[in-house]
Structure formats: structure tokens, C-alpha cells
């Protein structure tokens, strides 16, 4: 028996290590995903004024700081016990949609398209975004433009692309400028067209990935995501809904403050990443997935015309709910379309330029919970403060954590299907990395880790000796 180690998994956010145990015949017996860092935000924020939390916790991530910023600001709104002004609510949602566009574009075009466009078995030295630019310059440019558009909206609204300070407890600190609205309205159709082109390209190419679709984490699980009152996709301010593997709604209308009745967190021996589970069913049977695919499985519809048309086609092709984690890529592109359409709706909203954007208040509640859909799934910030507003306790349930169990299972499935220890090839291990990438995990966020973005796979013999190790960067 052997052990394979992938250390580190490349093209993901944060560090991960995978151990794959093989028997004497070279077949996979077991796999483990190790998240090897701890960030400690929950601990070192103790004592800080609660209103500093959006600024501090957004530093958890440089890819989707807006998600943490918004979840944290919502938790602070709850501590202020205010209803934020309508314009602020809509501006925050627009910022969040822009975040979806840039983050999903990053995941699809920069991180995963090398596998999808150049092939899982292509030369690892060229299997990166530069390789994509050489071979598919048109598509690469589209991806870069799309991400730029998302970032420009964030910069336009919040003055900074990364870690803006515009979102504050009680709302936002400045209204939207009419010139920005005009500019974005003129640029929006181009971004929508690019997304549709990318979707068409992906739909035509997906047939060649049938083996991946059939084996990339296809085990049915429950799904969790937030929806609005009508059951449509809502990424900024919905309530949580769980749908089971057969497609039935298990529970819906879960407000942020009720999360702990439904979500439990298990600690794992081999990883710093906790494993949330659906409490009424228990651990580990209460496994569920979050993120783009889960959201499209959970929601009845997107709620915008173009995205809904794509969602209908998606469901016709892959069923409802669709279980293969490979389809996260597809779902992400549909969500980019949804986010762009939603930005259009918000830009045309008569309230959007209203200068009343901030509610001022002191500490009116000693407990505050904020819940939103980050690009990678449900994100919950929970703070407890003392009478003076100092943080006494904090809990962050980050999107990637919810998928921890599912990622583990998917690694097992992909390893069993693709890895043959008797004739080991790099492409086999790349598929193991690729299934992790399909979830677009942000381990640096979810464990609060620092360092380079990388992953490692280890091949371990029955006696425990490491026979092979793949470090990719």
C-alpha cells in the first residue's frame, strides 16, 4: 500500500494538503483533506469595538473581502438594532453582485479554465492562466474584462477595489454618484454579452467532460442557500433554505438569528477547518453543500430573465437538483449573468441615488448575527458585545467550511475513479486537485490562514511511508 500526497493544491485560495492511501494493488482505500493553518480572527478581535469588525474581518480575504465586509456590517446592524435606509440596502446588494461577478470570473477564467480549456492532462508548466491567454486569447480577454467590470463597480461605489471602507454599520458612508450610474448602465450590456459568450462556449465544451461530470463529487447531498420570500435566488438578504437530495424543501425561512438551531459545527482531527452539518439530522449524515451549484439547486428560480432561461436549460440537461460538483463551474457562469442582470435592475431603481444611506445608533443589542451568500456559499458572522460595544465573543462560519465534508467525499470519489497506483500520472492527481477547485474553496478564509496559495497530494504505503508526493504551485 502507498500514500500519495498532493502538497500543495494549486489555483485555490489558501493552503490544502490531500493524503491518498492506496492498497497493494494500487487502488485507493481512503483519502483525507487537511487544512493546515489557523487564522484566529475570532480570538484576536476580542475586546475590539464592534464597529471596527467590518474593517478587520474583511482582511480575512483579498478575493471576496466584500462578502466579509457585508456579513460583518449586517451583524453590526443587528447590534445597532436598526433597519438600514432602503438606498443603503440596495447599494450594498449592488456591491455584492459586483463582487460575485469579479470573484466568479476569477474562479472560472483564472483558476479553473486552464483545466477546462487546456485539458486535465496537459503540460502542468503551461496549465495556468498564461497558457490560456496563449491558446484562447479571446476567451481569456473576456474573463479579464469581466473581472475588471466587477472590480470597477466596487471601486466606483466604494472608492477601493480591495478592502473598501464604504460599508459601515448602519448602511454605507456615501451615496451613489449619478455619473457612476450612467457609466455602469452604458457598460453593462457588454458585460452581459461576454458572459453569454462564455456560457455558450462552456456549454459546447462540456460534452468532452462527461467522465468528470459523472465522477466529480456526484454523491447526492442536501443543499443550503438563501432565497427571497418568493423562493428566488437572493444573495444579499435572503433567508436560509435547505433542500434535500431528492429535491424536497426540508426547511426554509431560517433567519440569520436562528442559524445555530440548524447548523452545528464538528471539529475534525486531521484539519483546522471545522465541518458544519445540518443539526436536525446530525453529524456526519447532515452533510450539505453550499455555493453556486447549491444556490441554483435551492432556489426555485433566479428571478432575472436571462439567468432564468439559462437555469431552465441547465436543469433540463442535468436534472433538478443537479448533483455533480463539476457543475459548480456552469452554475457560476449562470450566477454571473444573474448578478449582472440584478445590477441592471438596481441601477434603474428610483431609490438608488437617494442620499439617505446611513442609520446612526449605539449599542442596542448585545448579540448580532449577519448572514449573506458569499460567492462560495453561506457566510455567517456572529458577534456578542458588552454594554460598551466591545467584542466578547465572535464566531465566523465561512462558506468553504460548509462544503468541507462534501469536498472530502468528492476527493474520495475522484481518487477511486481516476487514480491507479500502478501507473501513476500527474493528470490523475490534477483531477483530484481539480475537484477541490470545482468548489472554488477559500481555505485561507475558512480557517483564517496566511501564506502562499498552494496544495499538496501524498501517496502513502500500507506501512505509512510516503511513496510519492505532488507539490503544485
Amino acid at each position: 500500500m502507498k500514500q500519495l500526497t498532493i502538497n500543495h493544491v494549486s489555483r485555490i485560495e489558501g493552503h490544502a494538503k490531500i493524503s491518498i492511501h492506496l492498497n497493494d494493488e494500487g487502488r485507493v482505500t481512503s483519502t483525507q483533506l487537511h487544512i493546515t493553518q489557523l487564522r484566529g480572527f475570532e480570538k484576536f478581535t476580542e475586546g475590539r469595538p464592534f464597529y471596527e469588525m467590518p474593517g478587520i474581518t474583511s482582511r480575512i480575504c483579498g478575493i471576496c473581502p466584500v462578502s466579509h465586509l457585508l456579513a460583518s456590517a449586517k451583524a453590526c446592524d443587528a447590534i445597532l438594532a436598526v433597519k438600514i435606509p432602503t438606498a443603503a440596502h440596495k447599494l450594498r446588494e449592488m456591491l455584492h453582485c459586483a463582487q460575485f461577478v469579479q470573484s466568479h470570473a476569477l474562479s472560472f477564467f483564472y483558476l479553473s479554465s486552464p483545466d477546462l480549456l487546456l485539458g486535465m492532462d496537459s503540460d502542468p508548466a503551461k496549465r495556468n492562466v498564461i497558457g490560456v491567454i496563449e491558446k484562447h486569447p479571446e476567451l481569456a480577454r473576456m474573463g479579464i474584462e469581466l473581472r475588471k467590470f466587477g472590480l470597477q463597480i466596487i471601486e466606483g461605489l466604494a472608492q477601493e477595489r480591495v478592502h473598501p471602507s464604504w460599508v459601515v454599520p448602519g448602511g454605507v458612508n456615501a451615496p451613489m454618484q449619478p455619473q457612476l450610474r450612467e457609466r455602469l448602465l452604458s457598460e453593462l450590456p457588454g458585460a452581459v454579452a461576454s458572459t453569454q459568450q462564455a456560457l455558450n462556449f462552456f456549454k459546447s465544451a462540456i460534452a468532452s467532460f462527461q467522465e468528470e461530470i459523472d465522477n466529480f463529487g456526484t454523491a447526492p447531498t442536501m443543499y443550503a442557500g438563501t432565497v427571497d420570500r418568493k423562493g428566488s435566488l437572493q444573495i444579499y438578504d435572503g433567508t436560509l433554505r435547505f433542500r434535500n437530495a431528492e429535491g424536497a424543501v426540508v426547511k426554509e425561512g431560517i433567519a440569520a438569528e436562528e442559524y445555530s438551531d440548524y447548523i452545528g459545527e464538528a471539529s475534525l482531527r486531521e484539519s483546522y477547518l471545522k465541518a458544519p452539518y445540518y443539526k436536525p439530522i446530525g453529524y456526519p449524515q447532515g452533510i450539505y453543500r453550499v455555493g453556486a451549484l447549491a444556490r441554483l439547486n435551492v432556489a426555485d428560480r433566479c428571478g432575472t430573465p436571462k439567468a432564468d432561461a439559462e437555469l431552465t436549460e441547465f436543469r433540463q440537461r442535468f436534472g433538478y437538483p443537479a448533483h455533480s460538483s463539476f457543475l459548480f463551474h456552469y452554475a457560476r457562469l449562470i450566477e454571473v449573468l444573474y448578478a449582472l442582470e440584478r445590477i441592471g435592475e438596481l441601477l434603474n431603481d428610483p431609490q438608488i441615488l437617494n442620499p439617505r444611506v446611513r442609520a446612526i445608533a449605539g449599542v442596542n443589542s448585545l448579540d448580532g448575527i449577519g448572514m449573506i451568500e458569499a460567492p462560495r456559499g453561506v457566510l455567517i458572522h456572529h458577534y456578542k458585545v458588552n454594554e460598551d460595544g466591545g467584542i466578547v465573543w465572535a464566531n465566523l462560519i465561512v462558506a468553504t467550511g460548509h462544503n468541507n465534508l462534501a469536498i472530502g467525499n468528492s476527493i474520495q470519489q475522484v481518487s477511486e475513479h481516476f487514480i491507479d497506483g500502478t501507473k501513476l500520472q500527474e493528470g490523475m492527481l490534477n483531477r483530484v486537485s481539480a475537484v477541490v477547485r470545482a468548489y472554488d474553496p477559500c481555505f485561507s478564509c475558512s480557517t483564517h490562514a496566511s501564506g502562499q496559495i498552494a496544495m499538496k497530494i501524498q501517496l502513502v504505503a500500507p506501512d505509512g511511508t510516503v511513496l510519492d508526493e505532488l507539490c503544485s504551485r
Binding site: R48, R59, S165, N386, D388, G389, G390
Partner: protein, 235 residues
């Protein structure tokens, strides 16, 4: 009427009044000397060493805010040596406590940060001290974050010399020195505090701030405090 004397600042002959400090004379002559603990209208304490200058005839670097002018004195305000020592003074302030600009309410409006930028400080040559310091949130309107305090004592002086309330003092010695309110009580329990907020407005960093402002939002309004101090008979 004080006697008028002549001194040279950076080689230029300027007139000054007997009893003025080098800093006052330089300001009057339109010369810039960086300062941090100095605040016009409050007594000068020479604590931060940012305003050090070279004076011909002495090897010592002298703080411009507390050194009186003398007839015929020749002062240099800018030189590689001064820049080096000013940087050292600032770097030691930065490493002593936890100055995390990115998440600070005063980011972008901070005198400490501005000085670091103007002196070209991009990184620290010493290990950070990372002390475990508390945040006093007990006051209804204001907050004291010891992590961001540089012990310039502007708050101590403005409270004593202008407001007359004497809420602030420095306790302990050396590296253990801390700003303290009342009889070492939480700020919110100090009955002498008039809630005027002058200490907050003169604080050069985010150590004293109004409550509720998010990152980058605390802009200090202290233009009128010097005028008020002058009317009270301050320096």
C-alpha cells in the same frame, strides 16, 4: 517688548524674538520642521524627538520645540543625519505598540502615518513588540485604544491647560507607561471629565476617537483649539 535677535536657519538669516523656541522662529520664517507631540497653544514637552535640529557648535541634536533661540545661532532643519534620527524615532513608536493602519479609524488622517509617509518609512527594522493592550470603551461618546497611543501627552496637556479638567495623566514608567484617566478608573467613570472631546481632537493618531466611526472615518477637528489655548494664555 522682547528683544529681536538674528539667527540662521538652513543658512538663511532670519530675525526672531528673544524667548522664542527654534520651532516658533522657524514657523515665523516659513520654515518647516516636522513635529508630532507639539501642538500650538499647549506647553511643549519635547517628547517625540521628531523636531530635532542640528545647532552649530554642539554635537547634540536638539528638539526645536523646547530649545530657545540665541543670538547668532545657526540651525539646520534638514540633513541626512536628521532624517535618519527622525526615522528611528518614528520606527520605535511604530514597533512599540500595535499600529495597524489598515483597520484604524484614523487611517488616512493620522499625523503619525503622514510623518512616516513623508520620511519614506516603508518597513520596520526592529521586531514588533505586540503588547497585549486594552481598549477603554467605557465612555459614552469616545474611545481610548492604548494600542494606538504614542504617549505624546497632547491629551494630558489640553485637558489640564485648556479645559482645566485634569482627567488624563501618564502612569508607570518606561515601556510600561500608559495613559490613564481619573484615578486610574475607566474613562466613563471619571466624574471630572466634561465630555468636551478636546483630547480626542488633538490626539494625532486613532488612540482617542469618537465612538461609532468605521475605518478611515475619524477626521480630527482641532483648528480652533490652538486659538482657544492662546485666549487662555497658553504658549
Amino acid at each position: 517688548m522682547p528683544q529681536t535677535i538674528s539667527i540662521r536657519i538652513d543658512g538663511e538669516l532670519v530675525s526672531a524674538l528673544q524667548g522664542q523656541t527654534i520651532l516658533e522662529a522657524a514657523k515665523q520664517a516659513g520654515k518647516y520642521i516636522p513635529t508630532l507631540c507639539y501642538f500650538e497653544g499647549l506647553s511643549a514637552v519635547g517628547a517625540c524627538r521628531l523636531c530635532i535640529v542640528e545647532v552649530a557648535g554642539t554635537d547634540k541634536l536638539l528638539p526645536a520645540c523646547t530649545t530657545p533661540v540665541q543670538d547668532g545661532m545657526s540651525v539646520t532643519t534638514t540633513s541626512p543625519k536628521l532624517t535618519q534620527y527622525r526615522r528611528i524615532a518614528l520606527e520605535l513608536l511604530f514597533v512599540e505598540r500595535n499600529h495597524v493602519c489598515a483597520v484604524c479609524v484614523s487611517n488616512g488622517h493620522c499625523e503619525l502615518q503622514n510623518l512616516a509617509t513623508s520620511l519614506g518609512i516603508t518597513n520596520m527594522r526592529h521586531w514588533y513588540n505586540y503588547p497585549n493592550l486594552p481598549v477603554d470603551l467605557s465612555h459614552k461618546r469616545f474611545v481610548l485604544d492604548h494600542n494606538r497611543c504614542i504617549l505624546c501627552t497632547r491629551c494630558v496637556r489640553v485637558c489640564a491647560e485648556v479645559e482645566g479638567a485634569h482627567v488624563w495623566e501618564i502612569t508607570e514608567r518606561g515601556i510600561s507607561s500608559r495613559l490613564t484617566s481619573g484615578l486610574n478608573q475607566p474613562w466613563g467613570q471619571v466624574t471630572d471629565c466634561t465630555n468636551c472631546g478636546k483630547c480626542v481632537q488633538v490626539c494625532p493618531t486613532g488612540a482617542l476617537a469618537e465612538k461609532g466611526w468605521a475605518v478611515e472615518e475619524m477626521v480630527k477637528q482641532n483648528d480652533n483649539i490652538s486659538g482657544l489655548a492662546h485666549r487662555k494664555g497658553g504658549q
